[in-house]
């Protein structure tokens, strides 16, 4: 894409950008809310654990943080973290790559929709957590069952959103392309597909959140490593602080993954943002 013409102010830039001394103010206006939010969360937690509950079963953030430092230093935390992350990533990508074309086909062709709807409408009501037992029986307690479950939890939501996106395309977009001389294939690749991108991305974002739920549940029941396994071990050996380290890690990881997803949408697919 060519750069905007010289002398033309870029409309997408906020007026604050032209204020050279406002860098700190800009940072504050973007991230200030998060900082205050997180600080207050930990503050309330700290106060509650000291004055309200004051029990070893509810450790304050300072204790959890110290334990976390220890687990980082001896490598245990990252080992579990990467084990979970690897599974989520593999299953999420595979599920999306399978779901997008299926969703496109279902949205584009009534016959395909009728053929596949019994599968999607039946299977999506069986929660992935309920499939854990079957997955372990079929694929063992190794990576296979986890990746299967993440694919399972990803694929339906991506299919549904993609298909909904295709049917939400304004008919005039298709008509305009027809009267501009586009062929059916061209309309699919140059109109239907890009018009559906915001819906696909929304589906993937929801699927990402599902993946976190599913991976923990799966690892709780059958795994040799991962954040869910860490939780389970914590319960087994009454290491409450370790349980909390795992919980905080999950929260931060989910938050970071979602922000990264949003950030990449705005950076690489900003022009596909749902507003336009």
């Amino acid at each position: 894409m060519a750069a905007p013409t010289a002398g033309e102010p870029d409309a997408r830039r906020s007026p604050l950008d032209r204020d050279p001394g406002g860098a700190a103010r800009r940072l504050w206006s973007v991230y200030g809310g998060y900082v205050v939010g997180f600080v207050s969360l930990f503050l309330i937690w700290q106060l509650a654990s000291i004055y309200l509950v004051s029990s070893v079963l509810f450790p304050p953030p300072t204790v959890v943080f110290r334990k976390g430092q220890l687990l980082v230093r001896n490598g245990v935390l990252f080992e579990h973290l990467f084990a979970s992350l690897k599974r989520i990533l593999a299953g999420f990508l595979a599920g999306s790559l399978l779901g997008i074309p299926i969703g496109l086909a279902m949205g584009s062709f009534r016959s395909v929709r009728k053929l596949l709807e019994p599968y999607t409408e039946f299977l999506r009501f069986i929660p992935s957590v309920a499939m854990i037992t079957v997955a372990v029986i079929w694929f063992g307690i190794g990576e296979g069952s986890k990746i299967f479950l993440i694919i399972y939890t990803t694929i339906f939501i991506v299919i549904l959103n993609t298909a909904a996106g295709v049917s939400a395309i304004a008919p005039n977009k298709i008509r305009a392309a027809q009267s501009l001389g586009a062929t059916r294939a061209q309309i699919f690749f140059h109109v239907a597909l890009p018009a559906t991108v915001p819906y696909i991305l929304t589906g993937m974002r929801l699927a990402m959140a599902n993946s976190f739920t599913t991976i923990v549940a799966a690892e709780l029941i059958a795994a040799n490593d991962g954040l869910g396994k860490m939780l389970w071990d914590g319960r087994l050996f009454m290491l409450v602080d370790e349980i909390f380290v795992s919980l905080v890690t999950l929260g931060l990881l989910g938050f970071a993954a979602d922000r990264m997803f949003r950030w990449s949408i705005f950076t690489f697919a900003g022009k596909y943002s749902p507003a336009t």
Binding site: M1, R175, L180, Q186, P194
Partner: protein
């Protein structure tokens, strides 16, 4: 020989309850090459139905439409369409990329299509806005992109479906003026749909006044013998306005009565 002719065209829609609605019946008009033909009528009279059939988006249920000696059977790049709303623009493409769309689909080389797109963007007064996305432009500018997009594709005729109806009054009259200028320079055949008498008299070389629906037809055709810039305060302009107004007044009353 006219460029386009409608022969006894009828269009019946069937509702989900199985009820038939005859939007137009025995509809016949002829559009000459190079003219700007305004189709004027009260809301719900089937103007847009007529445009959709000529565009090839919908097939007539009776009669037939002929263009250049061939029956119209589907959408084609011979007939470029400017829609009323902005939902036909591609939000993920910049203004110039939107204008290039038709050329790109025909595999016209990158530099050539950019050049042609820029030419038409200048013609519609969008120079300097070419790298913006539709969402960053005003309603009037978006309609200009639509017009440039259709012109760049060099169709045999333009179909315009109330393209300025959603704009504010000032922008609308400016756009009418510019369309008149563009038409004077390009001499493209235009079918312009509107419910606004003022707009029809401002733009039209001939004005087809439609009856209120259902089973709508052309009530009469007014030839506007005004050349060059038309001023709304001219006596001749007002005479045409009154003539068209008298023709359409009863139809509007009927349309309102039927809606109640």
């Amino acid at each position: 020989m006219p460029l386009v002719s409608f022969h006894d065209v009828g269009k019946t829609y069937r509702s989900l309850q199985g009820l038939d609605y005859q939007a137009v019946e025995h509809f016949s008009i002829e559009i000459e090459a190079g003219e700007l033909f305004c189709l004027l009528g009260p809301s719900g009279c089937g103007k847009t139905t007529v445009l959709k059939m000529l565009a090839g988006f919908e097939a007539p249920t009776a009669g037939h439409i002929v263009m250049d000696g061939r029956p119209v059977t589907g959408a084609s790049r011979d007939r470029g369409v400017v829609f009323q709303g902005d939902d036909s623009l591609y939000g993920w493409l910049t203004a110039v990329e939107n204008v290039e769309f038709g050329l790109r689909m025909r595999h016209v080389g990158k530099s050539e299509r950019r050049e042609r797109a820029m030419h038409y963007l200048r013609l519609v007064g969008l120079k300097g806005q070419e790298q913006k996305y539709p969402a960053e432009l005003s309603g009037g500018m978006k309609q200009r992109i639509q017009i440039a997009r259709v012109l760049a594709n060099e169709p045999k005729m333009l179909l315009m479906d109330e393209p300025f109806a959603a704009l504010d009054a000032q922008t609308r009259s400016l756009m009418q003026e510019e369309l008149a200028n563009i038409w004077h320079t390009t001499r493209t055949t235009v079918l312009f749909i509107t419910h606004d008498i003022d707009e029809a008299v401002t733009l039209g070389k001939r004005i087809g006044v439609m009856r209120a629906g259902p089973r709508s037809q052309v009530k009469g055709i007014v030839e506007v013998a005004l050349n060059g810039a038309r001023s709304r305060t001219d006596d001749v302009f007002l005479q045409y306005y009154k003539r068209v107004h008298e023709m359409i007044r009863d139809e509007v009353a009927k349309a309102i009565a039927r809606a109640d």
